[in-house]
């Protein structure tokens, strides 16, 4: 569980990035944090694993305050996937890269080897390959795999699909969804609203360092005021459903709209 208690944060004394942010994310949730560039989303993520310490208020990971616990200690509970995988990758082979996170966990070598082998097979990697010689999408998958390997309770994703093609994007999101279904809390920052609607169950909208909407994706994307304040466009399917109105107003997917049309035709 992650809790923000009246958190304010600024990098310089004159500009406040986050102001009185107060919310909590329960175990097993799939949360998307959305907002325009500079709204404070990435700062929020860095506060969640203690890379940044709040100027005012407190951030808790379960019952551990990020003020008093080091990020390297919190890493056992919180895994953070950065936008740029090249900052994370530092080993000579993909297998070494996936095993890297175990260095600080003091587990038996046989257990580590078995987990690494499972992950390599699951993602379809060539374990002996140099991680820097593969495509951008593959490197992003390697970075994600090395986080998944150590099985943190919470996985934070900072724009995980940037620079990926649709197939790679779906592959990463399916992996993340599978983890969420087994109880891992997923928190992601994403600019692709279609993707957010497809995968996230809860959406937090951030604008000018404050939370202006927080609820399920279905409600939040229909909150015109929040969308306009945060300079966001809702997913096209929501726009279409809202424009059509009536029975269509509650539809979130193409299938739902098609079903309504078919039902009407039949009548």
């Amino acid at each position: 569980m992650i809790t923000f208690k009246d958190v304010s944060f600024s990098y310089t004394p004159t500009v406040t990035i986050l102001r009185d942010v107060d919310f909590s994310i329960e175990r097993g949730e799939f949360v998307a944090i959305v907002g325009s560039n500079g709204a404070g989303k990435s700062t929020m993520l860095r506060l969640m694993n203690g890379l940044l310490k709040p100027g005012v208020g407190e951030v808790f990971v379960d019952d551990l305050s990020t003020h008093t616990n080091k990020t390297s200690k919190l890493a056992k509970r919180v895994g953070l996937l950065f936008q740029n995988p090249d900052r994370q990758i530092c080993c000579n082979t993909i297998a070494e890269e996936i095993a890297f996170g175990f260095k600080n966990l003091e587990l038996p070598q046989e257990e580590i080897d078995a987990t690494v082998a499972d992950i390599i097979e699951d993602f379809g990697f060539d374990g002996a390959r140099d991680p820097f010689s593969v495509s951008r999408g593959e490197r992003q998958k390697i970075a994600l795999a090395s986080i998944i390997a150590v099985a943190p309770e919470i996985i934070i994703l900072d724009e995980p699909t940037t620079g990926l093609d649709y197939r790679e994007c779906i592959h990463i999101m399916d992996k993340v969804t599978a983890l969420n279904e087994t109880g891992t809390t997923i928190i992601m920052v994403c600019h692709d609203m279609e993707l957010v609607l497809d995968y996230a169950k809860r959406v937090i909208v951030v604008a000018a360092g404050q939370i202006i909407a927080d609820g399920n994706a279905h409600e939040v994307f229909r909150d015109t005021f929040a969308m306009q304040t945060a300079s966001l466009l809702p997913p096209q399917i929501i726009e279409l459903a809202t424009e059509l109105g009536g029975q269509f107003e509650q539809a979130d997917t193409v299938e739902q709209i098609v079903d309504i049309v078919k039902a009407r035709k039949a009548v």
Binding site: K70, F82, D86, R87, C90, L105
Partner: protein, 256 residues
């Protein structure tokens, strides 16, 4: 010291000086620092550096730079003191590592020279745009554009690489690597494996930069390409004269 090489826009007398004058001024201060063995003179040079900071409206930056250099110098000072054993013993220590008067004086001189010589070069970059610096080198000193570009690019990349390294350390800390330890030796040991991602991202950035320069006709640029002229004005002559005077004064002090 973050951002200490960034340009700070302004219209101070230092901003208006010719870039070549500023280079001469900085180099003369460096030469004066290394030529002089007078402690008071070296302290005075640091004072002059701070005055330049105030005149160029970058005083806060000069002070934070000074603080950063003092922190680095403490380590250097200790090493120097422990390795010079001649002269009057001030503090006797075991294993022959006595702290002597000669050691303290020499260490103080080394540290003051380094601080005094580093500050003007960093302040020069705070009050001079990189493009002006390279164009003036090409126009006034006939430096081939490729070399001037290489020089300014090297400087421009320092903060970029520093940011990249900070980002890599952040990513590794998030994976459980103890970069947030207070043990400096442990931290240094952990930094070594990060040379790989830093090197790879650096090569990628330099490659992108080279391609961007090529597509903008980098190989066609020469002395006549720039439209801006860099005349030597009255202020520049006075500044160059005073710079040379400072070097001569430092040499004169050594003869006393």
């Amino acid at each position: 010291m973050r951002g200490f090489l960034d340009y700070v826009a302004g219209d101070s007398i230092l901003h208006r000086l010719n870039p070549i004058t500023k280079i001469i001024l900085s180099l003369c201060i460096c030469i004066a620092c290394f030529a002089s063995n007078n402690l008071i003179f070296l302290v005075g040079i640091i004072g002059i550096d701070l005055v330049f900071g105030a005149v160029g409206h970058v005083f806060d930056k000069a002070v934070s730079l000074l603080k950063g250099l003092v922190k680095i110098s403490i380590f250097l000072f200790i090493i120097q003191v422990l390795f010079v054993h001649s002269g009057t013993v001030l503090v006797p220590l075991p294993f022959g590592l006595d702290i002597t008067l000669d050691g303290v004086v020499l260490a103080a001189k080394v540290v003051l020279k380094i601080i005094g010589a580093t500050m003007p070069l960093a302040l020069l970059l705070s009050v001079t745009q990189m493009s002006d610096l390279s164009n003036a080198l090409v126009k006034k000193l006939n430096v081939p554009y490729q070399y001037a570009f290489t020089f300014t690019t090297a400087i421009r990349f320092i903060p970029i690489f520093a940011d990249e390294m900070a980002g890599i350390m952040e990513a590794q800390t998030s994976r459980g690597v103890e970069f947030d330890t207070k043990n400096i030796f442990k931290k240094l040991g952990l930094i070594l494996p990060l040379c790989v991602p830093l090197l790879i991202s650096s090569v990628k950035k330099i490659n992108s930069s080279a391609i961007a320069a090529e597509v903008r006709g980098f190989h066609l640029r020469n002395r006549t390409s720039g439209y801006k002229d860099y005349p030597i004005a009255g202020n520049d002559t006075v500044a160059i004269f005073l710079s040379v005077l400072l070097v001569l004064f430092s040499l004169y002090l050594n003869t006393l």
